[in-house]
Symmetry: C2
Subunit: 487 residues, 2 copies
């Protein structure tokens, strides 16, 4: 390993350290609960232990591994911990981790069919399998993206391309013939939709946020009123996003009614099911997806609630030709005989990124290792746990549920008897969240619902069992007794 | 592993198959040359061997691994093969693969500092180490992106945000106050710049392609003329991209002169060094980067020519606040005490994507495992090999060099004595490329330079040695004798 040797490190080193890491991972997954879920590290603490300058000479893998253990690990927030309940939890699962090892060893860039036919064709196959699991009709076409932010931005870009007579791709949006293009989302739509519109040059002022209520989702009358007013004012409604499983409270928008309005006014309907969409694989939850088949595009994230390591987002569309029209650019150096003959798909044509990791392989491992029935059973159990936790909240005199439990996420807050001032309750719940998170035993996050500071317990890690949420509930009750708020 | 069991697969299975995969990877890296570099698979061949429907019941990891070997492997184009010379080659290296195993097991989403302090702080440290290696001054700030397409799109978006008095973020580009925004690239600039402008709503018509010549890069006089004409016509020049190492012929644009024009007309200067930029770590190549320190942003790709597995692109900017202004959006559910106190960086504020893998870990492994001297030695050797191959081409009566060899890529073509018709030469070289690629022994790609079909041999895999390029040269000469072209 002297610096004047060329080539890679010796494969004996790879074998030795690789085997060590496999055992380390197995031990880690077996003992995740020994770690604080939320890193207890202070700002700058990790950085202060690392050299300011890069190493001149090679260092041994053993010393790197030792620093990983001693310096990096204390700065990790353990997303793979069964008591991770913040945001939406995810899973680095056994089949997913194994597949990632192969993905990185092959190091394939699947930009073109020819740059690895198996990467392209396995993406076609696994995306079609997932389509079937989700209950989407034939004709829905899947493309793997890195995350829902990208999937949603791609949806808006495709919608813009679909507007007849515009040709923004060529002319740009500042062209005299381009009207104000209007995007409709709800007050509870994920921020990535607004960001997508911002990036694409639509502008935040053209993102119309329709009111919602917690039970019924987007106010469809308000949507139609907004659309009609915009048309009157010479603006061009072109995109509406309905969400199945909002980030804050996992609410479900009335997709069929939104689809009616989208159809009437010739708007692209995108459904954000990044989290909740995965529940479509569970038969008794299919009813939540009524109307989704009428959408133009849909995003669901296997790297959220389908046990696939980051990153893998599934973008579906019934109009792949429009997506391709929005993104395709073929420089000479990427031309190939198969592409010219139009006998294959080149996935680089369907998004911003040219380079594409062989992500389909991990979805293939996951879908096969658990099987449809295994995946359904696990999602069903997470939803059972959420209902169970919700029943404890409802039965408690000091806590209250803040939103319906539709999937596997519970929105709740402490509301001790005698404290009814909203500001005090907000402070109390923020303090409670920080207190439980500081213990390192669980990690929950928050949102605001109608101005109320609301705690969220999102279940989604494959190793979360009833015993874990029971601990979480006990901890919340216990820590609440320690909180002192000046009201 | 029955479907009614919950939780993950047993860790004993993980250990067993994980160890198998480590040995498989070591054997694979030791025997890559047994595989055809370019997959010999025919369109649809992989797909036809896979079931149309997803599995109902779980399948064993052994059966998945068997199918991986039997069905998937024949459809792999081996990017990690030492005879991969197409496009720009890359490397899934020993330290990179080991780090990826840890990354996927931890499955961290580093969107916020608190969602893994180590992910954020190690990104700050490794990006700063790489900054120093590249010879960039203090004040250049690094952000990890997935690829150069995204880095370049982010650069254009930041440039747009930097234009005073526009506020496209809020108003959108169709607002009456927004002029035609003009982007300047060269005819040889990578297509991702045009795609970025397309996606952002700038429009292809507003992407001005300045002529180049092979020796001197972008024609600076033509650039200035175009800028002045656009200003006269009421358009707003705001972004120019200079390339250090173009995709086709690895040419270098005259960055200092372009920087002068950018400065004079208040344009954002972005330098695309996705491939060539990495050579800045080699002292005797530093001169190629004169003027880069005057740019506003720069992209270099460790996942191309720095032995880091996909994906990891390093985006540098001297104006991180502008990038943040272009992309930051903070929904309530992502607020944290540290963010509110402004004591930490949340990397989600610096790009399109919210979710972020812990990519810094693999760059840290790579930089430490090879060390600065080891990295320099390997890049230097690749450049030596390219010069050597070039000397064979130049000495040959039947081949000719088509562009200067600046880095590790050779542009050349067969040009047998007596054949001078360009169309015949184009056909001959296309046939030669297909013939050598069909052997499976090497994989090269092509471009067109001044209308001439040009072969490209791009050296960049860590395992490529002199013996490999010697084989490639022998094969090219041999296959040429078999080609019959009707002229």
């Amino acid at each position: 390993m002297a610096y004047n040797e060329l080539g890679d490190l010796p494969l004996d080193d790879f074998r030795r350290v690789g085997h060590e890491i496999v055992d380390w991972i197995a031990d880690y997954l077996d003992n995740t609960e020994q770690y604080p879920v939320l890193s207890q590290s202070k700002p700058g603490e990790i950085k202060s232990q690392l050299p300011d300058v890069p190493p001149l000479q090679p260092e041994s893998l053993d010393s790197i591994m030792a620093d990983f253990q001693d310096i990096i690990m204390p700065g990790i927030t353990h997303w793979n911990h069964p008591n991770f309940y913040a945001y939406f939890s995810n899973t680095g699962s056994v089949p997913g981790i194994l597949a990632e090892m192969l993905i990185t060893a092959l190091n394939v860039n699947g930009m073109l069919w020819r740059t690895s036919p198996a990467a392209t064709e396995l993406e076609e196959v696994t995306m079609d399998w997932l389509r079937q699991l989700l209950g989407l009709a034939d004709g829905w076409d899947g493309i793997i993206m890195d995350g829902a932010s990208m999937s949603s931005m791609v949806a808006i870009a495709a919608a813009r391309e679909a507007v007849e007579g515009l040709d923004v791709r060529t002319k740009g949006m500042a062209h005299a013939t381009v009207p104000q293009l209007r995007v409709y989302i709800s007050e509870q739509t994920h921020s990535s939709l607004e960001k997508g519109a911002m990036v694409l040059g639509i502008g935040q002022e053209n993102v119309v946020k329709i009111p919602v209520d917690c039970e019924n989702g987007m106010d469809v009358d308000a949507l139609e009123t907004a659309v009609l007013r915009d048309i009157d004012e010479g603006k061009r409604p072109f995109f509406v996003c309905a969400t199945v499983g909002t980030t804050s409270a996992t609410g479900v928008d009335p997709v069929p009614a939104i689809a009616d309005i989208a159809q009437k006014h010739n708007m692209w309907l995108h459904v954000d099911g990044a989290y909740g969409g995965m529940a479509a694989i569970v038969p008794e939850k299919q009813h939540l997806f009524a109307g989704v088949d009428r959408a133009d595009s849909l995003v669901v994230n296997p790297h959220k609630w389908l046990f696939t390591p980051m990153d893998l987002s599934a973008f579906y569309t019934r109009r792949p030709d429009i997506v391709k029209r929005a993104f395709s650019l073929l420089p000479e150096y990427l031309r190939s005989a198969e592409t010219d003959a139009n006998t294959v798909r080149d996935y680089m044509d369907y998004g911003v990124q040219l380079g594409r990791r062989f992500r389909a392989l991990k979805l293939w491992f996951v879908l096969r290792a658990y099987g449809q029935e295994g995946l359904i059973a696990r999602l069903r159990d997470h939803m059972r746990l959420a209902q169970l936790f919700g029943s404890w909240v409802e039965a408690s005199p000091t806590f209250e549920r803040m939103a319906p439990i539709v999937f596997s996420t519970v929105c709740f807050r402490a509301h001790p008897q005698g404290i009814d001032d909203e500001e005090t309750l907000n402070k109390l719940n923020e303090a409670l969240m920080n207190a439980v998170n500081d213990t390192g035993h669980i990690f929950i996050s928050h949102t605001k619902l109608q101005g109320s500071y609301t705690l969220r317990l999102a279940i989604g890690n494959i190793r979360t069992a009833e015993s874990h949420i029971r601990q979480a509930w006990i901890l919340l009750q216990k820590m609440l007794t320690h909180i002192k708020i000046d009201s």
